[in-house]
C-alpha cells in the first residue's frame, strides 16, 4: 500500500470519526446508558480502526464496523466489572455482537442524537457544562478546544467535564429516546445552548482567544440537526433562520484593522445576499405554520434589518412591534433594552431614554456592556455629555476584547465628550 493510500484512509477515518462522532456516540450511550463507557468504547474502536484499516482495507460500512467493535468493547468491560464487583445483574449486560467485521450492512443504527443532546442540555447541569458536553459529544470538539471557548486551562475543563458526566450517571439523568420520552418542555434549554454557542462565536472573535473551529458553524450544524430530527417543531427553524441572518452580515461587521463596525455604518453591499435568501426561505416556511415563538420573532427582526436599503430606511415601526410581541414570550431586561433602541429610531431619542429610565431594570444589566453603551449613546443623542461620559466609561470596564474597547474609546473621543481628558484608566 502506498503512502498516499494510507493518507487517504486516515482522512476517511477522520471523516467517519468526526462527522459521525455524535451519531456513533449517541447510539452507544443509548446502548449502555453510560457516557464514559460509550466514549471509551468508541475511542477503542477508533484506535483499532486506525491500526486495521490502513493494512487490511476499509470495511464496506465504516460506521457499522465502529459501532460493532465499540459495543463489543463495552460488553467486555461490563463483564469484567461484573466479575470483579458483583454489582451488576448479569441480565443487564447486553449480549455479544457477532458482526465483528461489519460485513453485515443491515446493522444500520438509528440516529439517536436527539436523545443525546437533550441529555447534555439537561437543566440540572450547570449551564456552561451543557455547552461543553454538547460541543464535546455532538460536535466532536476536543477538551482543549472547549477549554479555549471558556478561556480555561485544559486540565480544569477536563475535571469539570468528568464531574458533569458523573452527575449525569449518579443523579439519574436518563437518555431520552424518541419513543415518546423526548421531554419537549426542555426544547428551550437545548435551543438556548445552541444560541449560546453561536453568540460565543459571533461576538467574541478576538485575537486573545485561540479557537481553531468556527463556533458559529458548530451552532448551525446543531440547529440543522434539530430541524431534521424534530421536523414538527417550529422554533429550531426560527433559530436556524436567525443565525443565518446574523451570518449574512458577519463580514461587514469588522474593519480591516479589526474594529467593530456598528450596523448603521456597515457596508450593506458586503452582506451575503445568498445567505439572506436562504434565511428568508427557512423563515418564511416556518412562519407559515402559524406558531410563532421567540426565535422566529427575533429572526423576523433580523430579516427586516437585512432587507433595509439603509439604516435610516429600516422599518423601525415594525421592529418595535416585533419587540413588543417578543416581550409577550420572553419578558427579560435584554428584550426591554432592545425595544428601547427600536423606540430610539421609530420615535425619538427622548422617548427611548424615557423608556430606558422607566422600564429597563438596571440591576440585572449592570455587568452587561450593551446596557451601558446604549445608555451612553442615548445620552450623547440628548447632548448630555457628562452623563454620557460616565456611562461610556462604565461600559469600558466591561469590554471583553480590544475591538469593543477601541469602539467605545472612539465614542468617548467625540467632540463634546472629548472636552474632558480622554486618558481613562
Amino acid at each position: 500500500m502506498t503512502g498516499i493510500d494510507q493518507t487517504q484512509d486516515r482522512a476517511a477515518l477522520d471523516r467517519a470519526a468526526r462527522q459521525n462522532y455524535g451519531k456513533l456516540l449517541a447510539s452507544l450511550v443509548k446502548f449502555c446508558g453510560d457516557f464514559d463507557l460509550a466514549e471509551d468504547g468508541l475511542q477503542e474502536a477508533m484506535t483499532r480502526a486506525a491500526e486495521k484499516w490502513p493494512k487490511g482495507g476499509k470495511p464496506r460500512n465504516e460506521n457499522s464496523w465502529l459501532i460493532t467493535v465499540a459495543r463489543n468493547c463495552i460488553t467486555d468491560h461490563l463483564r469484567k466489572d461484573f466479575r470483579s464487583s458483583g454489582q451488576l445483574e448479569f441480565d443487564e449486560i447486553p449480549g455479544p455482537d457477532n458482526n465483528v467485521d461489519g460485513r453485515d450492512d443491515r446493522t444500520e443504527f438509528k440516529d439517536e442524537r436527539l436523545g443525546l443532546i437533550f441529555m447534555c442540555c439537561h437543566p440540572a447541569l450547570e449551564s456552561s457544562m451543557r455547552v461543553a458536553l454538547t460541543l464535546k459529544s455532538l460536535c466532536g470538539l476536543s477538551t482543549r478546544q472547549i477549554a479555549a471557548v471558556f478561556l480555561q486551562k485544559e486540565t480544569t475543563m477536563a475535571q469539570r467535564i468528568v464531574r458533569a458526566k458523573r452527575k449525569i450517571r449518579k443523579s439519574g439523568i436518563s437518555f431520552s429516546d424518541d419513543s415518546g420520552a423526548i421531554p419537549l418542555n426542555r426544547l428551550d434549554d437545548v435551543l438556548a445552548v445552541i444560541y449560546f454557542v453561536f453568540n460565543e462565536g459571533y461576538y467574541s472573535i478576538s485575537e486573545d482567544r485561540l479557537i481553531d473551529t468556527s463556533l458559529c458553524e458548530e451552532a448551525v450544524f446543531l440547529a440543522r440537526m434539530l430541524c431534521q430530527l424534530m421536523p414538527l417543531e417550529t422554533e429550531p427553524r426560527g433559530l436556524l433562520a436567525l443565525m443565518y441572518f446574523h451570518q449574512a452580515r458577519e463580514s461587514a461587521r469588522q474593519s480591516i484593522d479589526g474594529h467593530t463596525i456598528e450596523m448603521h455604518s456597515q457596508n450593506r453591499s458586503a452582506w451575503d445576499r445568498a445567505k439572506i435568501t436562504t434565511a428568508d426561505r427557512v423563515l418564511r416556511g416556518v412562519l407559515m405554520r402559524g406558531r410563532p415563538g421567540p426565535y422566529q420573532i427575533q429572526a423576523a427582526i433580523s430579516a427586516l434589518h437585512c432587507h433595509a436599503p439603509s439604516f435610516e430606511e429600516t422599518d423601525w415601526q415594525q421592529i418595535k412591534m416585533l419587540y413588543l410581541e417578543l416581550l409577550r414570550h420572553t419578558d427579560t431586561p435584554v428584550v426591554h433594552l432592545n425595544l428601547c433602541v427600536a423606540i430610539r429610531y421609530a420615535d425619538s431619542p427622548e422617548q427611548a431614554y424615557d423608556y430606558l429610565c422607566k422600564f429597563v431594570d438596571p440591576d440585572p444589566l449592570n455587568e452587561y456592556l450593551p446596557y451601558h453603551l446604549t445608555k451612553g449613546r442615548l445620552q450623547l443623542d440628548l447632548s448630555d455629555f457628562k452623563a454620557a461620559e460616565d456611562s461610556l466609561t462604565t461600559a469600558l470596564g466591561h469590554c471583553r476584547n480590544q475591538r469593543e474597547e477601541t469602539h467605545i474609546r472612539s465614542l468617548l473621543n467625540q467632540p463634546g465628550v472629548a472636552s474632558s481628558p480622554s486618558e481613562k484608566p
Binding site: M129, K167, K170, S171, G172, S174
Partner: protein, 118 residues
C-alpha cells in the same frame, strides 16, 4: 415517636473509599444499622450520593427554576422530606415542583446511594 437523624460532615472528612480504615468505618455503620434493626428502632436509613449530584428545584411565580448543586440559602432550614421511587431525575423534578413549599423555599434532590452487597 419517630425521629429523623440527619448526618452532616465535610465532604472529605472521615475515611474515604480506598483508605485502609474505610472497611472498618463501614463495618461500624453496618453494626449500627444492625443494632437499630435488632432493637426494632429501624424504619429507614440510606446513604446519599455526594453533594455534586444534587439538584435544587424552586418554583417562583409559576416558573420552575432548576439549578445544579445543593440549596445554599442559609436562612432556609430542613422542614421535611419525601423518599420517592422515580424512574429518573426528570420524574423526581416533576414531583419536587408539586411540593407546596417549593413556591417559596427550595427542594434539594439527592439520589440514594446504591451500596454493593455487604
Amino acid at each position: 415517636m419517630q425521629y429523623l437523624l440527619m448526618i452532616y460532615s465535610a465532604q472529605n472528612a472521615g475515611p474515604q473509599p480506598g483508605d485502609e480504615d474505610f472497611a472498618e468505618f463501614m463495618g461500624e455503620y453496618f453494626a449500627f444499622t444492625r443494632e437499630t434493626q435488632d432493637r426494632q428502632a429501624f424504619v429507614a436509613g440510606d446513604a446519599l450520593e455526594d453533594v455534586d449530584t444534587a439538584t435544587t428545584v424552586r418554583v417562583r411565580e409559576g416558573k420552575v427554576d432548576i439549578t445544579d448543586g445543593p440549596f445554599a440559602e442559609t436562612k432556609e432550614v430542613l422542614g421535611g422530606y419525601y423518599l420517592l421511587e422515580c424512574q429518573n431525575l426528570d420524574e423526581a423534578i416533576e414531583w419536587a415542583c408539586k411540593i407546596p413549599s417549593a413556591r417559596f423555599g427550595s427542594v434539594e434532590i439527592r439520589p440514594i446511594m446504591t451500596l454493593p452487597a455487604e
